[in-house]
């Protein structure tokens, strides 16, 4: 894991003081709310329906037990005993007092954490593959590169008032677990002639105009990556639209210019800026990478302890994945108990996950963009102990990537922009399909719910997506089919007229019944949909 040196710590400490000063000026009236807003947003502090929400950065979703415990402490001390893990691999606290925010940031700084650029029209937290460093199929660990980009983008003086927010993801395998091409910039690290470089995509995103990022560069070498990103951002900062908030993301600029013209402008800019010495020496990437070395895995294969427990076997099958090192598994802890709030964890659960990481996973945890937690390196012989502890804490739901493993945005329960409530709907769907082995029968089925067109719940990328809309003052839900945020990326399409909350659950049942009736060997819901097309699904819903 990355460890701060004195410079990193000085920067985060200075930020705490700066924010303390800004809050004091706001409370004294020296700053108007209008002037204060972008400053607090740049520090992850939103004003929601009922209170302030603080979003804490978890860079590329990686944290250790000490940091995780701090999150539990904040939930307990400053919130109502809960934290909410987000699709940006961050955590949000929904009941924060403005006066407490500086102190919370000061506490976070003691464990090398912060809330810098978790909001605002700037470069946001860098996201990555939650299996980084553990996945069998990666060409390298993407996190050192993500850390390099994190540092470059932190308080970047030129790119702090962009036309709109800017999200970057870095992955390093052909399997995409991070929805890389649905980011403003998506980077896939690839190997060419024995060297690692960046394949760069730009202009993807969700929101009201979802787009899949086209490729902008097929191979940018490490020693030019930051100047290349600088060029990408400068073209956007200068030419991105600022007249209409809904057309201000880079995807609109690239769509309007065309990928070829955007690429041409970026390349021209890159020639100019790379001569300025913006790129750190390779030694800097090496310095960071040295902190991400493998933990001391045991070389003797650790056998799985045989156990007759059916619930354990189901969890083992569903929630653990192949590890690059023999004898280890990657464990995903589902934060989607049937009937619970997707992504929520209590302070006690957060502490327990920290304890398990410390004891069984070389002190590492990951937050996934699907709002779950990963213990990346668990020896096979410890799996039963881990599962037992999780079960006792209500964290052993065996539903990874099943229909009840729902991504849902906060929706109308918290969010001031919402049209509809996402959370109760997620609970209803999980309850309907979570019992009697129904979801196991359906297999992999990614369902995603957004409470409004801003698409924080990634509904465009759902095998099944649900979008909350407002119809004459009544909550209404549109159903979408056929999206994917993985390497087979695609955008979901709307089936037709929307439904009531119960109506949309019924409609989901109809489309999944059709899938069960028509699927061929080995097909997931998404595969059957792609083979059959929209029509038969429409027919069962509306026919």
């Amino acid at each position: 894991m990355y460890r701060y040196d004195q410079y990193d710590q000085a920067i985060v400490d200075a930020r705490v003081e700066e924010f303390r000063d800004q809050v004091a000026r706001r409370l004294s009236g020296a700053l108007t709310e209008d002037q204060f807003k972008p400053l607090r947003l740049m520090n992850g502090l939103y004003l929601q329906l009922h209170a302030y929400m603080l979003r804490v950065a978890v860079p590329y979703g990686t944290l250790d037990s000490r940091q995780m415990r701090m999150l539990g402490h904040i939930a307990r001390t400053y919130d109502r005993g809960y934290g909410h893990f987000t699709t940006r691999q961050n955590i949000q606290f929904n009941w924060i007092k403005l006066e407490d925010a500086p102190e919370i940031l000061a506490e976070l700084a003691t464990v090398e954490m912060h809330a810098i650029q978790t909001s605002g029209n700037c470069i946001r937290n860098i996201s990555s593959d939650q299996f980084a460093g553990a996945a069998a199929d990666e060409v390298t660990d993407p996190r050192p590169w993500a850390e390099l980009i994190r540092q470059w983008s932190t308080f970047h003086p030129e790119f702090t008032y962009l036309p709109r927010k800017f999200k970057i993801a870095v992955i390093a395998s052909d399997t995409d677990r991070a929805a890389m091409r649905l980011h403003d910039i998506g980077i896939q690290l690839v190997k060419r002639d024995g060297r690692i470089g960046a394949r760069v995509f730009a202009g993807g995103g969700m929101g009201r105009t979802p787009m899949i990022a086209p490729e902008i560069a097929e191979f940018v070498p490490a020693e030019e990556l930051l100047s290349f990103l600088e060029a990408c951002l400068r073209v956007y900062n200068r030419h991105g639209r600022r007249d209409n908030i809904y057309k201000a993301r880079i995807k609109i600029l690239i769509h309007d210019l065309g990928a070829d013209e955007y690429r041409r402008q970026v390349e021209e800019e890159h020639v100019a800026v790379k001569a300025l010495g913006l790129d750190p020496p390779l030694a800097e990437l090496d310095r960071i990478a040295a902190m991400f070395g493998d933990p001391p895995f045991e070389s003797v294969e650790s056998p799985l302890v045989p156990n007759g427990d059916a619930a354990f076997a189901a969890w083992l099958d569903q929630n653990t994945s192949a590890h690059k090192h023999p004898g280890y598994r990657v464990v995903t802890i589902s934060l989607k108990p049937i009937g619970g709030i997707p992504g929520d964890a209590s302070a006690d659960q957060i502490d327990l996950m920290a304890d398990l990481a410390e004891r069984y996973s070389f002190d590492e945890l990951r937050v996934t963009h699907a709002q779950n937690i990963v213990l990346p390196h668990v020896a096979a012989r410890d799996l039963f102990a881990v599962w037992s502890a999780l079960r006792d804490a209500g964290l052993a739901e065996a539903n990874l990537d099943l229909i009840s493993d729902i991504i849902a945005c906060p929706g109308l329960d918290y969010c001031s922009l919402a049209n509809a409530r996402s959370i109760p709907l997620a609970q209803k769907i999980a309850t309907r399909f979570g019992a009697n082995g129904r979801q196991q029968e359906l297999g992999e089925l990614k369902l995603k719910i957004s409470g409004c067109i801003n698409a924080c719940g990634h509904h465009h990328a759902g095998h099944i997506g649900v979008l909350g809309v407002d119809r004459k003052g009544v909550e209404n839900f549109q159903l979408l089919l056929g999206g994917s945020g993985a390497e087979d990326v695609s955008l979901a399409r709307i089936t037709g007229p929307g439904f009531s909350e119960d109506g949309v659950v019924d409609a989901i049942e109809k489309v999944t019944d059709l899938y069960l009736a028509r699927r061929e060997d080995g097909e997931r819901f998404l595969d059957t949909y792609r083979r059959l097309g929209m029509e038969p699904f429409k027919e069962v819903i509306y026919g």
Binding site: D5, Y7, D8, A10, I11, A14, E17, E18, D21, Q22, R25, A30, Q35, P38, L39, N121, Q151, W152, T154, F155, H156, P157, E158, F159, T160, Y161, L162, P163, L226, R234, N237, R238, R242, A272, V273, L276, G277, L278, P280, P281, A283, E284, R287
Partner: protein, 151 residues
């Protein structure tokens, strides 16, 4: 890239704050500048292309860049482009220039400020002195931390 010693800032934590442009040639619009030969001062609106000035940079003493709203960040790129091209004169941020944005502006090469609303000099001093380390190379002389780490 601009040498910090050549600017008004020069390590001085109190950059020049000016409310007016008395006693100097008034800054003309980009269009006017391009159509006359002898102007030394030009004002760029947020949407103007700073690169249009590059062929005649040598004759310029002052470039004023407008910030119609502090949220409009185009002026930061304009400033860097001018400094990267070697512009050594006065680079002034005018308009909705707030104390919390000034440090970023300095890092992008601005060395004078004409804010619409008065800035408290005490708060400005704190703001400008706050960060002892920066992560990236800018148009100022601050050394990025990777340089300090690796020499």
């Amino acid at each position: 890239m601009a040498d910090r010693d050549a600017t008004d800032v020069a390590g001085d934590p109190s950059p020049a704050l000016r409310q007016d442009a008395a006693g100097e040639q008034p800054a003309v619009t980009l269009e006017a500048f391009l159509s006359q030969d002898d102007a030394h001062a030009v004002r760029l609106e947020a949407g103007d292309d700073a690169r249009a000035l590059l062929p005649r940079l040598a004759q310029l003493k002052l470039v004023e860049i407008s910030f119609p709203s502090f949220r409009d960040g185009r002026g930061y790129s304009a400033a860097r482009i001018l400094r990267e091209a070697g512009f050594m004169g006065e680079l002034r941020a005018q308009g909705d220039v707030l104390v919390d944005q000034v440090p970023h502006m300095i890092r992008c090469g601005f060395n004078s400020f004409a804010p619409e609303a008065a800035i408290d000099p005490e708060v400005l001093k704190r703001s400008v002195e706050r960060y002892a380390a920066v992560y990236q190379r800018g148009a100022d002389a601050a050394e990025p931390v990777w340089r300090r780490r690796h020499g």
